[in-house]
Point group: C2
Chain length 418, copies 2
C-alpha cells in the first residue's frame, strides 16, 4: 500500500471506531483509561527500551540536548502520563449532557445535546507524552484520534499506541479509536489533511512553521495558535508591589511557554518609580531587558529594543519593555503586536479595568493576575489539549468540552409547519 492508502485506511477505521466511541458509556471509557494507566506502569521497561531506540537515533542525528531531553521517557514521564489518564477518567463525561430546554409557542421542546466531534487528528512534535495525554482527552470525550508525532519519536509513540490499543481491547473497545501513524514519511501529513470525509478536526501542536503548513494544506477545520506574544500593562493606578510580583511571575516562573509575558508595558507616570526595582529583580533572575527609548533613559545600561522585538515570542529569559503615555497607547500596541493569546492589566481603576477587559481582543484577558493562568487546568477546565487563538469553535484553552459539539434535539407531539 502507498502512503495515501495507508492513511485512508487509518481514517476509515477511525471513523468506524468513532461511531462506537460516541455510543459507549462513561464507565467503559473510564475503564479503558485506567487500564491504560496500569499497562503503562506494568510495561514501563519495554517502553524505556523502545524509547532508547529513538534516543540513540536522536544522538546519531546530532539533535540538541534540549531535544533529546524532550524525547526522553523517564520513570517520571510514566508516572505523569498514568496520573494524567486517571485524572481524565475522574472528569465528568460531557457526552449526552443537555442544556436548558426552550418551549416554542407551538409546544415543540428544543434543547441541545453534547456529542463528540468524531475523528480528531493531532499533529505534534517531539514529546512522546502528548501521545497519551491527547489520546486520553479525545477518547474520554467520545472521539477517535489519529496521532502523528515527531519522526524522531516514532518508536516511543508506537509503543505507547500499542499500550493504548491493548487497553482498549481489554475493555471491549476498538483499538482503532486511537492510532499512531506508523511512518516518518512527511507526505503522511498531507495525506491526513486530505481526509475531509473521515476526519472532523485537526489540532497541530508545535512551532509556527508546522502550524502554518497544516493550515495551508488542510481542507479539514484546524484549531491552533501560532504564537503567544503576551503583554502585561501596568497602569499608573497599579499597586506597585502587586505589579512587580505579577510581572516577575509572568516572565520568570516558566519563560519557555506560550502564556509567559514577552513585553511589559508601563504607564509613564509610574515608570520612574516602578522600572528600576522591577528591572533589578528581573535581572537578578537572569532576564535580559530590551527597552524603548524612555525605558533606556530610566534604566540606563540595557539593550535598546528594535522594531523586531515587539512582535517577538522569545520563549526565553528576555523581556521587551515599553513606556506608554496611557492605557490607550498600551491597547493600540497590544492590538498591533499581540497574538490574541493572553493580555493582562494591573490597575486599581475600575473603569480602566472594565474597558481593558471589554476592548482587548485575546483568548484570555486578565486583571491583576499573571498571564501564566491562561491554562486549562488553572482556569478549571481540567487538562487541556492546547490553546486556540482562532475564534471559531474555541478561543483559549481547550479541555474536554472543546472536543465536543452540540446537536439540536426537538421533541414534538405531531407538530407540522404551517
Amino acid at each position: 500500500m502507498d502512503i495515501n492508502q495507508i492513511i485512508k485506511k487509518i481514517a476509515v477505521d477511525a471513523k468506524k471506531a468513532a461511531g462506537v466511541m460516541g455510543r459507549c458509556d462513561t464507565a467503559q471509557k473510564n475503564r479503558a483509561l485506567t487500564t491504560m494507566a496500569e499497562l503503562l506502569e506494568q510495561k514501563a521497561d519495554w517502553i524505556f527500551d523502545e524509547n532508547r531506540k529513538d534516543l540513540e537515533g536522536a544522538r546519531k542525528a546530532g539533535l540538541s540536548s534540549a531535544m533529546v531531553d524532550r524525547l526522553t521517557i523517564s520513570e517520571k514521564t510514566i508516572d505523569s502520563m498514568s496520573k494524567g489518564l486517571r485524572e481524565v477518567a475522574s472528569y465528568e463525561d460531557p457526552i449526552g449532557t443537555m442544556g436548558e430546554t426552550r418551549v416554542r409557542p407551538n409546544g415543540l421542546r428544543v434543547s441541545k445535546m453534547r456529542i463528540p466531534l468524531g475523528v480528531i487528528g493531532i499533529i505534534y512534535e517531539s514529546r512522546p507524552n502528548v501521545t497519551i495525554d491527547a489520546a486520553g482527552l479525545c477518547l474520554k470525550s467520545g472521539n477517535a484520534v489519529i496521532l502523528r508525532g515527531g519522526s524522531e519519536a516514532l518508536h516511543s509513540n508506537q509503543a505507547l499506541s500499542e499500550i493504548i490499543g491493548q487497553a482498549m481491547e481489554k475493555v471491549g473497545l476498538p483499538a482503532s479509536a486511537a492510532q499512531v501513524i506508523p511512518t516518518t514519511d512527511r507526505s503522511a501529513i498531507n495525506a491526513l489533511l486530505a481526509q475531509e470525509e473521515y476526519v472532523d478536526l485537526i489540532i497541530p501542536r508545535g512551532g509556527e512553521g508546522l502550524i502554518r503548513f497544516v493550515v495551508e494544506n488542510s481542507t479539514i477545520p484546524v484549531l491552533k495558535h501560532y504564537k503567544g506574544v503576551c503583554h502585561v500593562y501596568v497602569d499608573d493606578s497599579a499597586d506597585l508591589s502587586m505589579a512587580q510580583s505579577i510581572c516577575f511571575n509572568a516572565k520568570v516562573q516558566r519563560p519557555g511557554v506560550c502564556n509567559a509575558m514577552e513585553t511589559l508595558l508601563v504607564h509613564e507616570n509610574l515608570a520612574q518609580r516602578f522600572l528600576p526595582g522591577m528591572a533589578k529583580q528581573l535581572q537578578a533572575a537572569g532576564v535580559e531587558l530590551r527597552g524603548c527609548r524612555k525605558t533606556c533613559a530610566i534604566l540606563g545600561n540595557i539593550t535598546p529594543a528594535t522594531d523586531s522585538d515587539w512582535p517577538e515570542e522569545y520563549v526565553d529569559l528576555i523581556l521587551a519593555v515599553k513606556v506608554v503615555s496611557n492605557m490607550e497607547e498600551a491597547m493600540v500596541h497590544i492590538e498591533r503586536y499581540g497574538s490574541n493569546h493572553t493580555e493582562s492589566i494591573v490597575t486599581r481603576d475600575f473603569d480602566r479595568a472594565n474597558r481593558f477587559v471589554r476592548e482587548v481582543d485575546a483568548s484570555a484577558v486578565l486583571v491583576n493576575t499573571s498571564t501564566r493562568f491562561n491554562d486549562g487546568g488553572q482556569l478549571g477546565l481540567g487538562a487541556e489539549i492546547g490553546i486556540s487563538t482562532s475564534k471559531l469553535h474555541a478561543y483559549g484553552p481547550m479541555g474536554l468540552g472543546e472536543l465536543t459539539t452540540q446537536k439540536f434535539v426537538v421533541l414534538g407531539e405531531g407538530q407540522i409547519r404551517e
Copy 2:
C-alpha cells in the same frame, strides 16, 4: 489596482471597521439597522431601477425564469428586507454578555465574555436579499462583513450596499463595516479566501459546487453545509395519522429547501397499513415516488428507486421510499446516506425515541415532528444566516449567537502561579 489589491484593501478596511463595530453600543447598532430599513423603503424606486439592469442582463444571458425570479426585487422583497432588519434590531445583543463565574481555589474569578468573530465573508449566489439579511445579522453581532453575491446580481447588490453604507454613516458608523465586492471577476473569490490575516470566517451559501470550491481554496475557517438529505423514519409504534401528517408536511410544505424530507423510511410491520394512504396523499400533491423493492410490491405502479436515489437531494416533489425491517436498519441507512442535516423519527416507543435521539448524528434530531422545523426562526434563534452541518463552532442553524465567540475573563487580586 489589480483584483488582489482591491480585495486586500476591502479586507484591511473591514478589519479596521470590525474594531469599531466590536466596541460600539447596542443602541447605535440598532439605529443603523432601522435607518437601513427606512432608506430601503425611501429609495425603493432607485433599487428597482438598479435591479432592472440585472434582470435585463439575465434575460439577455438566457437565464431560466426561476433564476430571473430569484433575482427580482419586488415591493414585497423590499418589505421583507425592511421587516427583517427591524426584527434583527429588536433582538437582544449578544455582545458583552457573560455566563457563570467560576471561583478557583486561589480566588481567581473566571468567566467568559461574548465577543464578535471579527470579519465575516459571505459568498452567495443569486438572491440579492441575502445582501441585506446577512449584513443585518453580521452588524448586529458586532462584526464587519464582506459580501460577494452572484455576478448576475451585481447592480442590485451594489445598490443595497450603497443603502447600507449611507445608513451606517448617518449614525456615525463606518460604511466599510459592510462592503460588497465590486466586481464579477471570479478570481475575487480566491483573493478573498486568501485574506486569513484579516478575515475570520467564511460562510458560503449556494450549490454544492460553490461550497466545495470555497472549502478547498480557503485557509480561513468555513462554516457550511453541502446538502440536506433528510429522512423521516416511521416506526411500527407510530401513530398513523400523526406520521402521515408529518411526512406530508416534511415533503410538500416547501420541497425546494434543505430541510425538506428526501427519503421516507418505514418499518415493515407498518408498511402495508401506512404506505397506500400516504402515497395517495403525496401523489395527489404531485409528488413522484421512487420505492425500494418492498415499497413497489406494496404500492404497485411507482418508479423503482435505484442506488443513485438514496444519496440524492431532490429539492423537488420527488420522494424516495424504503421499507426497513427495524429502527437499526433505518439508522444504518441514515448514517450511510444522510448528510448530518435533519433526521426525524415518528414513534410512540420511549426507548426507541431516546436511542434515535442519542445515536443519530445530525445537526437536528427530531421526534414526532416535521423536518421543516430545523430552522433558526422555528427553533427560537431568530433569523439565521445558514445551517451548518460541520461540527466545529456551530452544528445546525446559525443565528446571532453563532456569529460570536467567547473570550476568558479572569479577575484577580494579585494572584501569581506557584
